[in-house]
Amino acid sequence: MTATVDDSLFASLDPVALKGSSCTACGATVFPALGSCPVCTGVDVEQVALPTEGTVWSWTTQNFEPKSPFRSDGFAPFSIGYVDLGPVIVEGWLVGRAEWSIGEPVRLVLTKAWTEGDTVVHTYAFEAAS
């Protein structure tokens, strides 16, 4: 069995794509999808699938275990970044290594977050594209 940390984050799971919203007035894109536009105050927005490839905009390592409600099958330090997808910069895990460089290309993947009985709960993450 598989599940996601929150199904509303995803436009599709196979292939994986994040779901944001885009303002029909100003074009601003946000993630996760909202019912209004915080950039221009508009209220007419449409849900969109976000690009799945981008570049590392910033990154850091999470070297201590976050407090509740953090969940894991056993904490190990991990990387977090902001990824520039073009219309929007999205925060997420960076997986596959410990050191990153601003500007390097990455792509969206699904990765295991924790297990809950027989169910593997997945979240989105970015891995090196090369």
Binding site: D6, F31, W57, N63, F64, F70, I89, V90, E91, I102
Partner: protein, 384 residues
């Protein structure tokens, strides 16, 4: 033309761990500020109290006296102190009151703040996946900033070294043991590029100020400090705030830039005239960013300032002369008022720690916090 507003009394507690009640801290600060101004609680016409904790500041009247005065409570995260001061100033001007008391305090549990996703309108997934962490936000922000402006990461170590050097001379600071640049750089990495010595910790403390209008201020205080301006601003698109699942591409903005610009404009004073400043240094990177966002230093020039000793007590622009948040910790409700307290004492020539030489007459304070708000003040002993 409204009367100018002056600070005529100021007091703070020692910051650090505290086992008593929150109200004990608040009462100590208020009684200290009243004594500093030569007043009693009976003389106060209007009061403002700020805390991020569970106690009700307006119930301090149960200890201080049931005089019937209006008492406003403020809860604005890390900017609580600045907002409380602005509210007190506005109260003085709008209510026709003569004397106001403002108090800020908190007594936090150990460790990083544990924020609830729901309180910020974010889904549980954000906390469950370990991204609802204030320290990683600061790291992500300074990592990007150092990259954009080509700043040597050792600037982070210099900011820490400076903070603890100031604090080693300050009787009310919490962490007073000097730390070298190398020690700061080589300490345990918390969130790359920030190490253990580069973060402040939540702790306990209280600060109180007494404000008075017009000529009354000079009856109460030998050297009153004029609140030349206080400005509060929120975030606009393009700012990079804590707990942001997304950011706008393109031009970067900041509530600190907007609040500082408004405060300087309202005071009719330029950043170049500032002789002593207090900046929000939740971690080393925040001081580096805020030096530039407030207009005090050019983006990218911060490292040279550290190397030249500009921000030390005998430098061109002494910054965070009480050790800042790094050495005082962050009792959220008190922190912004601590900054004002320090600048007031510096301008009055009676600093608790190292006194800036040359009788500085213009000071600046900047507080910044979640979810993207900043409050700045310009303080001066010069006339209008």
């Amino acid at each position: 033309m409204t009367d100018p507003v002056y600070i005529v009394g100021a007091a703070r507690t020692t910051f650090g761990r505290f086992d008593g009640e929150d109200n004990d801290l608040a009462e100590e600060a208020v009684r200290g500020a009243l004594a500093d101004a030569g007043l009693t609680w009976n003389d106060i016409d209007f009061a403002v109290g700020g805390t991020n904790g569970e106690t009700k500041p307006d119930n301090l009247v149960a200890r201080l006296g049931l005089t019937g005065l209006p008492f406003v409570t403020v809860k604005n995260g890390c900017a609580t102190g600045g907002v409380a001061l602005m509210t007190a100033r506005n109260g003085l001007l709008a209510e026709g009151a003569g004397i106001a008391c403002v108090v800020g305090y908190d007594n936090h549990a150990r460790g990083a703040f544990n924020a609830s996703p729901a309180r910020y309108g974010i889904g549980d997934w954000y906390g469950q996946t370990g991204m609802m962490v204030t320290t990683s936000y600061f790291a992500l922000k300074i990592q990007r900033y150092l990259h954009e402006h080509g700043i040597d990461p050792r600037a982070l170590g210099y900011a820490a070294e400076k903070a603890f050097e100031y604090a080693s001379h300050h009787p009310y600071a919490w962490r007073r043991k000097p730390v070298s640049v190398d020690e700061a750089m080589d300490a345990d990495m918390i969130n790359d590029p920030l190490t253990r010595f580069m973060f402040c910790s939540p702790d306990a403390g209280a600060v109180s100020l007494i404000l008075a209008r017009g000529s009354r201020a000079f009856d109460l205080c030998e050297k009153p400090v004029r609140l030349a301006s206080v400005a509060l601003r929120g975030r606009r698109p393009g700012s990079f705030e804590v707990f942001s699942t997304w950011l706008s591409p393109g031009e970067r903005t900041s509530p600190s830039i907007d609040a500082a610009a408004a405060a300087f404009a309202d005071a009719g004073i330029s950043p170049a005239e500032v002789q002593v400043a207090q900046l929000q240094d939740t971690e080393s990177g925040a001081e580096i960013i805020h030096l530039a966002e407030t207009g005090l230093v050019e983006h990218g020039a911060q490292m040279q300032g550290y190397l030249d000793g500009d921000y030390k007590v005998d430098g061109r622009l002494p910054v965070n002369t009480d050790g800042g948040l790094l050495a005082n910790g962050e009792p959220v409700g008190a922190s912004g008022l601590r900054q004002v307290h320090e600048v007031v004492r510096q301008l009055q020539g009676r600093a608790d720690g190292q006194q800036v030489p040359g009788q500085p007459s213009i000071g600046f304070t900047h507080v910044y916090g979640a979810p993207g708000i900043s409050a700045c003040t310009v303080l001066t002993t010069e006339g209008e």
